[in-house]
């Protein structure tokens, strides 16, 4: 039971990543695939935060001088996650605009039908 308890964050994070991948692999609808990708992104962000987490640590902000720094969480993954989230948003926006254009051209979002460029 203790394995599940103290690794719940890793399990959660990689659960999300693998589910996201599974969606991308299995689903045919473009929107679902994009949702799968963003699920995978959130999973990765959760994983990064889990890496930097100290057991019952606090946010690394010295709001008042006397806050001591022993129990502070590692700030670097948080900086990485900040960037990762923004990249996730950027790619998501681009994907959705492409989806709009795709629907205008192909009339469908079913990726199995969007196979003109092959071989």
């Amino acid at each position: 039971m203790s394995f599940l308890q103290n690794n719940i964050y890793y399990i959660g994070a990689f659960g999300l990543i693998l589910i996201g991948l599974l969606i991308v692999l299995v689903k045919h609808n473009l929107i679902k695939v994009i949702i799968g990708l963003s699920i995978m992104d959130t999973g990765i962000n959760l994983f990064l935060i889990a890496i930097g987490y100290l057991r019952n640590g606090t946010a690394p902000i010295f709001s008042s001088p006397e806050v001591e720094s022993v129990l502070m969480v590692d700030p670097v993954p948080q900086a990485l996650v900040l960037t990762a989230i923004v990249i996730g948003v950027a790619v998501l926006a681009l994907a959705l605009s492409l989806a709009i254009r795709l629907y205008k051209h192909f009339g469908t979002l079913d990726l199995r039908k969007i196979k003109e460029l092959k071989w």
């Binding site: 599974l22 930097g52 690394p60 902000i61 010295f62 670097v76 926006a93 254009r101």
Partner: protein, 231 residues
């Protein structure tokens, strides 16, 4: 059949990940770089919010890259939507006007959200949050206005100009750091000032304000493009 096969693949990857994770115990990783930032973060950059000191101080180059990513995405989105647009005719969809309650509610809330957004990115180096979060809040304010009162539209050039000016501010401060400061790009050439006061931590607030404006205007531009597309 396909899902079963991909499930097997993912299980194998999961096994590999578990095997690797065994060497990274949860909740007790000791990253010496992280400790260094916590101990000397305030001394080096003057910001009390260590995450901000990492984001804009130590790893400012990352954030510059980060801002460029958003900038690229915004332009890419504009290019893709514009490319498709001119080859089909322009039809104006008739939208029925929003109800009065909704209209006045939005008009009342709009400045408040803007104010809150500004507060967030101005105090980036003191309180949690920063340029990106503030920008997002500002964009949400504009989104609310779009949803609330349909006909309102911000002027295209305004959004684009703030975007490029704030981007320029970021790069120019970096270059002046190179020219003036200890000959390093993005080095903190302004005095750190006293901790926990508004005007402290050298160039970090300036950069964060620039980022806040840039992200705000970019996301608004994105929302604007998407809404224009959906008409």
């Amino acid at each position: 059949m396909r899902s079963v096969f991909s499930l097997i693949l993912l299980v194998v990857i999961g096994a590999g990940v578990v095997f690797t994770l065994s060497s990274i115990p949860f909740g007790s990783t000791s990253s010496d770089v992280g400790e260094y930032y916590i101990d000397s973060g305030r001394a080096d950059t003057g910001a009390t919010n260590i995450v901000t000191s990492v984001v804009v101080g130590y790893r400012a180059f990352d954030t510059l890259g980060e801002v460029t990513v958003l900038f690229v995405a915004a332009i890419g989105l504009g290019a893709i939507l514009a490319a498709g647009r001119e080859n089909e005719e322009k039809k104006k969809a008739e939208w029925e006007p929003a109800s009065l309650v909704l209209y006045t509610g939005c008009r009342f809330l709009f400045p408040l959200i803007l104010l809150f957004g500004a507060y967030v990115f101005i105090h980036g180096h003191l309180t949690p949050g920063g340029g990106f979060q503030g920008g997002a809040i500002i964009a949400s304010a504009f989104l609310m206005v779009y949803l609330g009162c349909r006909k309102k539209r911000i002027s295209k050039t305004w959004a684009r100009n703030t975007e490029s000016i704030s981007g320029l501010v970021f790069v120019v401060t970096g270059l002046t750091g190179l020219a003036v400061g200890g000959h390093y790009f993005l080095s903190n050439f302004l005095p750190e000032g006293t901790l926990n006061t508004l005007f402290s931590a050298g160039i970090i607030p300036i950069i964060y304000i620039a980022i806040g404006l840039k992200v705000g205007s970019e996301l608004t531009g994105v929302i604007d493009d998407l809404i224009e597309e959906s008409e």
